[in-house]
């Protein structure tokens, strides 16, 4: 429960940060601090929670905008990266960014255990 709760709160905060802060990388220090304050029971849990709490809102923000745009722009940008549809691009980019967030969360775990 606490694990899920941590992810949901973190995801909501990340979503808000997208619009509040102008720095694209804000999620990385945020994940680090967030998991210093809310440590999980293992490094793996820190990592996966850190991943999901960024992956999910990042992807969601894409999907909401993309639906409102009728996929006009995502199709063009996907073509630029030789992909057939925007959704692949969205998942890949959200995944890579999630990975950074997860690593940052993981670093917080190791710092507390040091």
């Amino acid at each position: 429960m606490k694990y899920l709760f941590t992810i949901l709160i973190g995801a909501a905060l990340n979503y808000a940060l997208f619009y509040v802060l102008p720095f694209w990388w804000a999620f990385a220090p945020f994940a680090f601090i967030y998991f210093l304050l809310l440590p999980q029971t293992s490094g793996w849990r820190n990592f996966s929670a850190g991943f999901l709490m960024l992956f999910l809102p990042w992807l969601l923000a894409y999907i909401i905008k993309d639906a409102a745009n009728d996929h006009v722009l995502s199709a063009r940008i996907a073509a630029m990266f030789s992909m057939s549809s925007g959704i692949f691009l969205f998942v890949i980019i959200s995944g890579i960014m999630g990975l950074i967030s997860g690593l940052s969360a993981n670093a917080a775990y190791f710092l507390r255990k040091k």
């Binding site: 006009v72 063009r76 990975l99 993981n106 040091k114």
Partner: protein, 817 residues
């Protein structure tokens, strides 16, 4: 152990952040670009972007309302000129900011600053062509006119109100057009000279041509007998713009300084080295007007379709501009105020390019190697220097010194230019350029006054300010008048002057006087009841002034003249239909000769198809492909004498080539192929190129089935940064160059307009693009399919703000509560 893991994790995090924060080659900074709120998805337009809004400008005295119709065409209702052009500037920026900026950068030779050193040679050429010198002169001229300058400043402030919404800071990253994010740079503030650069960009596109260096080389290579046969200045059979029925009485040319030159055309010590030859017939346009006597309703109808390079975002932006003393509709050029081609409630006007050669070259002899003075008949003249500093992204500034003579810049000054069509010579000589576009002039004032014109007299007064690029201004009025004027700054020349490089030492070669306003080619209400211009010669042989063109067209105008001559009871639909005409007159005049000379032993399958072809270049048939491949090969093989890759040369144009095919004997010396020992005849080269065509069509058929004209032609509308993902290719459309519907690979009718001068005005138009410059908008390319199918939009020309408001999709109020 755990701290090692900590450091590894942190290292990875930081490495990723650094990597994604950087621009890698042409890949934009991925982190910023992909951010879901600020990155490219911020450019994904939604319904919110087409809903009512209120803007507060930094300049409180600006008032007006903008009503957008369902095609996103803004109808601007403003209190006065200042508010009007301010709002126009704001809207241009709102929909087309990146395009405006990149085009003015291209004109100014400032692309390297944002795109890197790959564009350095391009930038250097722009500087050497004197684009800055020209723009500065144009700005100085406009500064003299208080009201015009105030309008231009208002326009500038409007653009900047978009770039800096708060009056202090450039728009934030998330609010920038997507191209800035992709190319990773920021817009800079607009200034009045940028609008001048845009006008010079058009001047360069439309008048920055001549064949002087090529002709000089050719004259030297083949002698004057052959030259006059292959390159006649005024061939037989042309139908000029000003019809014979027009009964013009020219003032006897008053040429106080006119004198026959004593100097013969300049001859190079050895032939100019150069790269590719120029290609003919890329740009052109049609316009025509029919008088009420020929129309069903009795109202004149005016038509115009300027053929330009087709790009996304489109060159044009459609608008209605309304103030208490003007109501005007048409297309504007993002980056410059006013409507360029369009109509108001009294008149309509359009333009085609005048192919009049207004660019000459002078060979300069320096007094000594310091190159500070040059020699003329009237004594040594000083050179002036213009230091051009080109900023290069990711590199050091490049500093170039351009020498200026009294003619203009020394474009070639021991300077080796590669593969640039406007500058073909790899010259040892020093060549100065005299170009009408360098002179101070106020083309913007013409547009401003045309927008306000009520009748023929107003129209003539308006265009009197338009000097370069010279245009055929077609005109129609609700009172029934139709007219055309070829207007530009045309030097009075002695016969032959300016076809070849001139001797810079001879004072008699200097442009001294210009054709007076009263003697410019023009006609008002000619007896035939219609006027056609399609880049052909403007006048018949009785015109008293000598002129030469860089690229006259011989086919579209004859198709149009013949068609309109036979039409009565003309309707708007008839005129729309005529703009879509795909009859290939050129093919009809040359193909019979080709088929007659084809050796009977050749495989006849494609020849048989061509024998029954009706010469229509329709999108989905194969015959135009057979003809075009065959003709292109034949033309190249015939004129192999003019395709020396080390020398700047140009082959005879299509019209003269076809005349020769009809009149010369089968063993005319130029039919011989240079690279073979045998002496070829027309039959030989026709058959040889036919066989090449059969082979290439067979291989196309084998790979992808029977060819279709549109797939072979591959009409493409490329994004200005050449990004395929933002472009449209394989557009299903017929026509070609030299055809009324002049859609070639990447040029074509950039705006089709048909205006009936009824009350109220009944107007139709379409351009191949969309109102929004944003690839993330549904309005980015939404006109293209309709344009390709030959459809038109009924243009909503509102008489009042209330009427506009009733049918608006949404509206923007400017500084009004």
């Amino acid at each position: 152990m755990r701290s090692v893991k900590l450091y590894i994790c942190l290292l990875f995090v930081i490495a990723f952040l650094v990597l994604f924060n950087a621009r890698l080659g042409t890949v934009p900074p991925i982190g910023k670009f992909m951010h879901p709120a600020h990155g490219f998805m911020a450019n994904a337009e939604t319904k919110k972007d087409v809903s009512d809004a209120m803007i507060t400008f930094p300049d409180p005295e600006i008032h007006g309302s903008v009503y957008f119709d369902d095609r996103l065409v803004p109808h601007v209702f403003a209190d006065n000129d200042i508010s009007l052009y301010y709002i126009q500037g704001y809207l241009h920026a709102k929909f087309r900011l990146w395009q405006m900026e990149i085009q003015t950068r291209a004109a100014a030779g400032r692309l390297s600053e944002v795109l890197g050193d790959g564009l350095l040679e391009y930038d250097r050429l722009q500087r050497r062509l004197g684009m800055g010198y020209a723009a500065e002169h144009a700005l100085a001229a406009i500064e003299e006119d208080e009201h015009m300058y105030a309008c231009l400043q208002a326009y500038t402030a409007g653009v900047n109100a978009y770039i800096q919404p708060d009056g202090e800071h450039i728009r934030s990253y998330d609010q920038l057009p997507i191209e800035y994010k992709l190319l990773d740079y920021q817009p800079e503030l607009w200034t009045p000279i940028k609008s001048m650069y845009l006008l010079k960009y058009m001047a360069s596109d439309l008048s920055g041509f001549d064949n002087d260096l090529e002709y000089t080389n050719i004259l030297q290579k083949i002698g004057s007998g052959d030259f006059n046969l292959l390159f006649p200045n005024r061939p037989d059979g042309i139908v000029p713009i000003i019809p014979d029925s027009a009964q013009i009485h020219y003032a006897v040319p008053d040429k106080p300084d006119y004198q026959a030159s004593t100097s013969s055309p300049y001859s190079f010590d050895d032939l100019q080295k150069g790269a590719q030859s120029t290609r003919y017939n890329e740009i052109g346009s049609n316009n025509w007007a029919v008088a009420g006597s020929k129309t069903k309703t009795g109202n004149p109808i005016l038509c115009n379709d300027p053929h330009l390079q087709l790009n996304l975002p489109s060159l044009w932006f459609e608008m209605q501009l309304h103030t208490p003393d003007m109501n005007c509709y048409g297309v504007s050029l993002p980056g410059a105020p006013a409507i360029v081609i369009g109509f108001n409630d009294s008149i309509s006007w359009g333009m085609t390019n005048a192919g009049w050669d207004v660019r000459d070259w002078y060979n300069i002899t320096f007094t000594d190697p310091t190159e500070k003075q040059y020699i003329t008949d009237s004594g040594n003249q000083n050179i002036s220097f213009r230091i051009e500093t080109i900023s290069v992204r990711g590199g050091a500034d490049y500093i170039d010194t351009v020498r200026y003579t009294s003619f203009g810049p020394l474009v070639y000054n021991g300077f080796r230019q590669k593969n640039i069509s406007a500058a073909k010579a790899d010259a040892k000589e020093n060549l100065a350029m005299r170009w009408a576009a360098h002179d101070p002039s106020m083309e913007f004032k013409t547009l401003y006054l045309l927008n306000h014109s009520r009748n023929y007299a107003d129209y003539r007064a308006s265009i009197s300010y338009f000097e370069c690029p010279a245009q055929n201004f077609i005109f129609a009025c609700t009172n029934g008048d139709i007219a055309i004027t070829e207007h530009g700054k045309f030097p009075v020349k002695y016969p032959g002057e300016g076809r070849f490089v001139l001797d810079g030492k001879a004072d008699s070669n200097i442009w001294k006087t210009f054709i007076p306003e009263s003697d410019l080619p023009a006609t008002l209400n000619p007896a035939q009841g219609f006027i056609v211009s399609a880049n052909q010669h403007p006048t018949g042989p009785d015109y008293p002034y000598y002129y030469t063109g860089f690229d006259y067209e011989f086919y579209r105008n004859r198709v149009l003249n013949t068609a309109i001559q036979h039409m009565q009871q003309i309707t708007v639909e008839d005129m729309q239909h005529l703009q879509q005409n795909t009859f290939n007159l050129m093919a009809s005049e040359v193909l019979p000769v080709m088929l007659d000379h084809l050796n009977g032993e050749a495989n006849q399958k494609y020849a048989d198809a061509l024998r029954t072809w009706n010469f229509e270049d329709n999108a989905e048939i194969p015959e135009p492909v057979y003809f075009q491949i065959w003709w292109d090969d034949l033309y190249a093989l015939l004129w192999d004498e003019f395709s020396d890759s080390s020398v700047a040369l140009i082959p005879p144009n299509y019209y003269n080539t076809i005349h020769i095919l009809h009149t010369e004997s089968n063993d005319f010396s130029y039919y011989d192929v240079q690279e073979t020992k045998e002496k070829e005849t027309l039959t030989d080269i026709v058959t040889r190129t036919y066989n090449t065509m059969v082979a290439s069509v067979d291989s196309i058929t084998k790979a992808s089935g029977d060819p279709k004209w549109y797939t072979w032609k591959n009409t493409s509308i490329m994004h200005l940064a050449q990004l395929p993902a933002f472009s449209r290719t394989q557009i299903k459309v017929g026509g070609y160059r030299n055809i009324v519907n002049a859609v070639s690979e990447n040029h074509g009718p950039s705006w089709r307009m048909v205006v009936e001068m009824s009350t109220p005005i009944n107007a139709y138009g379409i351009y191949p693009g969309g109102q929004s410059g944003n690839p993330g908008s549904a309005y980015y390319d939404n006109f293209i399919d309709d344009w390709a199918e030959g459809k038109y939009h009924r243009l909503a020309f509102y008489s009042s703000a209330e009427e506009a408001e009733r049918s608006a999709m949404f509206q923007i109020s400017c500084n009004t509560p």
